[in-house]
Symmetry: C2
Subunit: 460 residues, 2 copies
Amino acid sequence: MIRTLFAATLLATAAALPAQFSPQQVASLRDAALNDTYAFDITEGLTTEVGQRMAGTEAEARARAWSVAKLKAMGFANVRVDPFTMPVWVRGAESASILSPFPQKLAIAALGNSASTPPGGLEGELVGFDSLAALEAAPDSAVRGKIVFVSHAMPRTEDGSGYGIFGGPRRQGPGIASRKGAIAIIIRSIGTDYHRNPHTGVMNFPDGVKPIPAGALPLPDSEQVQRILKRATGPVRLRLQLESTKLTNQQSGNVIAEVPGRDPGLPPILVGGHLDSWDLGTGAIDDASGVAIAAAAAKRIMDAGRPLRTIRIVWFGAEEVGLFGGLDYRAKYGKQPHYALIESDFGADRIWKVDSRLGEARKAEAIAIQQALQPLGIVPGALDETEGSDIGPMVADGQPGVALKQDGTRYFDYHHTPDDTLDKIDPVQLRQNVAAWTAVLAILSGGIDPPAELNRRKKR
Amino acid sequence: MIRTLFAATLLATAAALPAQFSPQQVASLRDAALNDTYAFDITEGLTTEVGQRMAGTEAEARARAWSVAKLKAMGFANVRVDPFTMPVWVRGAESASILSPFPQKLAIAALGNSASTPPGGLEGELVGFDSLAALEAAPDSAVRGKIVFVSHAMPRTEDGSGYGIFGGPRRQGPGIASRKGAIAIIIRSIGTDYHRNPHTGVMNFPDGVKPIPAGALPLPDSEQVQRILKRATGPVRLRLQLESTKLTNQQSGNVIAEVPGRDPGLPPILVGGHLDSWDLGTGAIDDASGVAIAAAAAKRIMDAGRPLRTIRIVWFGAEEVGLFGGLDYRAKYGKQPHYALIESDFGADRIWKVDSRLGEARKAEAIAIQQALQPLGIVPGALDETEGSDIGPMVADGQPGVALKQDGTRYFDYHHTPDDTLDKIDPVQLRQNVAAWTAVLAILSGGIDPPAELNRRKKR
């Protein structure tokens, strides 16, 4: 029903086309954005002055306060926090050691929503599987009472497509291991780097399945465990400490700001990313750079003049642990039509492809976007596909959107690890992102007025 | 006096030249070694079955037991442990947090011989310096009662030459900071990578200087601290926990094995590396690969036949924490002439240059070595220079030697970090090392006899 509503809306707004923007203005704004400093400034400020900002914690609250001050200082209108509450999983003491036959410590991090081990940890025999399929195929008797280890073969890809299928050990592994009677599970990190930094990430036990402790080993430790299992002539025993606590009804929220359009009655353009991060790094690529790119592009439009349509910046809370912010926004505003949804949540390396789904009636607009991005080395992609993390549920509802797809080749080297820090942001590639976003917003905004110079004096 | 003795010895042995090896045999042994499996087998076994093996600990004792068994199984003669005792510094609980104005955790590791903080740590105001020179130039009043942070600008180099001068903050920094009244010091890791893995390493407080807690931050954390110091409008406060303990008279030892020469009266060729590692990684590049390269080359000579001169393999104990093994060997055998000293202690990336110091009378032998290595892409270097870590004191005494210099471009990405693990060993480059060492040993060994085939049947 909702999908039908949005389809009708798209047809209704189609009358506003052909495009009301000037291609020269778009190109000029795009190329000027290759010198952008707003995005790096936001990324550096948020990761330095707040650092990690795990959803629902006091750190995320500090991030919201920082964001409200920053967005106000940048001159955006209607800056506010939309609060919501959520359960919070809190990491405690963590360690893992092979006890026999080759005693040694391993690096480890618990997965989000892992059950806690008893204080000090637990001990058990380790049983290894090279894939999730191998674990699934194993008889319960091979697993019962043991600690399960699961590997996988995630490759490095430009489009990040390995994360879906090879993320199985993290997403489904703990539930499968628990069902078979395992006392805990450790997995090869869902990542592509060989550093001793584990990749955490969220997982959920299916209803009725007993939560067990679940952790991720870095790739060097994971392959070490495989070698140890292969060389051991008897049982391999592991000591595993993954302590954690769970809190209910903690505070989170979405930070919202706007560039008011000349016609407030038109559906807004939503641009965003997520403000929360995992707790191990400072969340530079995931997703300080995302909120920064969205806000920088909006700011550049605002600096140029007043757009016809309102641009609404949403820095979603609590994405990592279950899309709480995206679902809260959808509950509050998701039935209203949006002119487009656009989210940046895949780092800050160069955008290499643009997909969109604006509807058949807005095909000219979609083609104009493709053409405006080609000088940035961006391949025209699908016209009937779009995506996003926090905006995902609204995309599924049928809302229109644009997907500016970043190069993910090195994204899973850092994703959800302590290594997600500012130094992983390449300023040149970050600026290419801002340029692409600025061009897209210039087109979607329906024309900017009054002229830039006049407006610049007024706003500053 | 000792130098004069060795100079005289070199002249005395000069009569044994011209070279007694066959260039064809050298080339054949060298090229066959490009398919070597011994070195990787040792590196993998030691790092997997023992892992970290901090000097003077039970882990290093397990490494000695593993080594004796391995060297015996490989067929070497006179396999034994030369024991010695030493003081041991043991890492305890470690953490660091910025308390204000931007609360967040930092990654940290204590430097070897750091003083221990009180249990739970200490708190203090942080004062930053961009170089050791800036710390030295600061008035005591700027440092007294504070926690000092020191950065530096170590570059990535092929020959590793940045490690000397830019290692100052680690080697001299703690002493200078303590003299000026600092309560603790944290430094930018002496390394070149941007991962959240600190580089530890040894340092010593000068006599009469009070030991203070001393730790290293990974580069991302170090630059974060610099940004925080720059952005803070008031004092930056740090909580620092670097607990450790010191033990006296702990057991270490050198593991020694030999390929007996046909003439036991001739000075032996010493080939080696060090068995101990730092406690954070599994010591693959530092220095499992080094002991492996030395033993693999000796094994390949032994497989080929019986050398004229004895090849003595020494896997030194306790290098990292003060060359205890090298000094023990020197005390016991250093007055005896050696035909050459050769050590591998700079990872396992390709050898790019060969230096030697065999003496004027053995120039033809040195040139033969250069020529035999050129097909491996190895640049002829100095004829009057050699070096090594454990062998360093004996090199300083004037003993002759060969230095097969490895490419250090990525060495300081992993050196003394948790990231020093097996996956950092490139098997192709490791085999190039073994090939170069085998060629050098074939030349120095003074001719191999009886023919390879006969010998192979006898040994196996």
